[in-house]
Symmetry: C3
Subunit: 155 residues, 3 copies
């Protein structure tokens, strides 16, 4: 199933370890609650009049458009972080802007970066910013880790 | 909104600077006229009987399949270029082929590369080439830049 | 045309050479039988009750979701391999899991890796594994090569 007219969205994030980088990413998707669906990466606009909802359990194998940040790495002791933020415009007829940031540094630094990106995107568009919703995940690598954060469009 | 049966296409390109690589890319998308929609990257075939149209203003947040080239970088003075080219077959029942090229070099070099790729793709397929449509963007980095060129499928 | 409710899938793989990395990849897609359609990369779940079919000739320019592995490189003598594997759960109401692996090493090593990834994904989900379907492609580079393997969702 693929959604054709997203009018809802929700934020998800998770950090996990795994025996390979891909398994760690798979596990991070599961930690975020989107591990059993098909994520299709998209650039990064929230359609107008899209409503924030709590995360829903997606149907198995659903094809869902997601704007996301990922950081996966395999050096013990390194901190990984991923964050997304959505800027909501004051005018509900305008689109929102989703930004991503991932880095080998702590979660707050990652959030600061992603929020600043949203502010810049609004300045550039000359849209008035009503509010920013953000989410992030972070972890200190034990063996092989993956941090994931995404905005899921849904219907 | 996602299109299910693309029968039109148009070419877009833009170069922009920004305070981060992602904001520069976002700004390049806006310079190209596709900054407020959701681009989904696809490999690179023009459906048969698809009609070239002038760029349209896409609905905010629309999910659009785009074959694109991007080059983003942050060294002042470097020239960035991105180009796409579409080979149109003589037989309208055959598909066209879209190729991408991006490089840290001037626009004409980038165009030469992408056009040669289309010619090779047609030679390999043994399709007769009617014509090639191409578009490119280029800029000399001041601080952080992004060049983008894409073929948008539309309906 | 984009499929909205995939209920079939098939496995494809191919290795090819080409005059550039992108042309080699294009040629590998053609060797795999999916060269004239639009592949959209997705993460990696097989919807429940999806049926394995022999590869079909896809309509020109169709937008098809594919979970795939690719390895393209340009050093003569190097062996490139790409593999995908699908874990099928005993319970048909549960989703399958698709894993990818690509490497500059021989085909059997690549298959071993991708199969192990599927096993790990099932262990993590606590799903009982009924069987694993896999496919791979490999070649020794003459000039510029590309190995591709994918799971195509179809309807």
């Amino acid at each position: 199933m693929i959604i054709t007219r997203p009018d809802k969205y929700f934020l998800v994030a998770g950090y996990a370890e795994g025996p390979t980088l891909l398994n760690a990413f798979d596990n991070a998707l599961m930690a975020a609650g989107v591990g059993n669906c098909n994520i299709v990466k998209m650039s990064s606009i929230l359609p107008p009049n899209c409503t924030l909802i709590p995360p829903v359990k997606l149907p198995y194998g659903a094809l869902v458009p997601v704007a996301y940040a990922e950081e996966s790495w395999d050096e013990a002791g390194v901190i990984l972080s991923a964050a997304v933020a959505v800027g909501i415009p004051e005018d509900p007829e305008l689109p929102g802007v989703i930004m991503e940031h991932h880095m080998r540094a702590d979660e707050q630094a990652c959030l600061n970066n992603v929020i600043r990106k949203v502010e810049w995107a609004f300045e550039k568009r000359k849209f008035k910013l009503k509010e920013i919703k953000s989410i992030s995940a972070s972890g200190k690598i034990e063996l092989i880790g993956s941090a994931f954060a995404g905005v899921v469009l849904w219907t």
